[in-house]
Subunit: 136 residues, 2 copies
């Protein structure tokens, strides 16, 4: 699956911790949009979409949540619970997020501005599109 | 002083809250670097520098901290304690941050990659440079 979970270098000293995400270094795209999810209510499951083109780098900068990722061929479930862990999600990956901790702040760096036409919000449509793609 | 504290639109619904920072909309520069400070130890005061050119947009996405900002002519102290509040800091502003809450996550969007030559780390040198500038 076209995702990558990778460690982020923590610049820690006697003051505290700092992590930097930089274009061309650990971010493989130009960042056009940064958004963050917070105050997520208990029991909420969100996401339920894929992107035609958008690439995203996701970090749980506080707290934790779980991801379900599906490229139409396999499903992966993973826990983001570490501000020093980045999750790169390429295009055409269905995602659902759940089990948000009360304090979770999920930060997302995105390669384009918001564009509703880039979203695929219907799972059956997503599966049909994936089946049309040539196999890697 | 060339700073701006401004509200960020919170997209809240029955799932939780989302805030988006977008190039050309509420971010007046291309984001080359995103960094976050966390696990800051009690009593720490950090910053103690100005930037020759770098522009930054700062958000306390969790918790709170205080800023001292100084452009060489006036000083402003302010509290960042709201994920729906953005602080834009232009170039040539001396900054110190302190009173970090235990849970504080301070997110910073920056207009350039890290470049040590852009930093002014000596307050006297900063004051001398500001005095050479033409008055607005």
């Amino acid at each position: 699956m076209d995702i990558r979970l990778f460690p982020l270098q923590k610049h820690g000293d006697d003051r505290g911790s700092l992590i930097a995400l930089e274009e061309g270094r650990n971010v493989p795209f130009t960042v056009r949009r940064v958004y963050y999810l917070f105050e997520t209510k208990p029991g909420v499951r969100r996401g339920f979409h894929a992107h035609r083109d958008l690439k995203q780098l996701v970090v749980a900068v506080r707290g934790s949540c779980r991801f379900l990722l599906d490229d139409g061929r396999e499903q992966i479930e993973l826990l983001l619970d570490n501000p020093a862990q980045g999750l790169l999600v390429e295009s055409m990956i269905w995602r659902e997020m759940y089990d948000f901790s009360e304090d979770c702040v999920l930060m997302v760096l995105a390669s384009a501005l918001y564009d509703e036409s880039d979203y695929i919000r219907d799972k059956a449509q997503f599966m049909a599109l994936v089946e049309q793609e040539p196999q890697a």
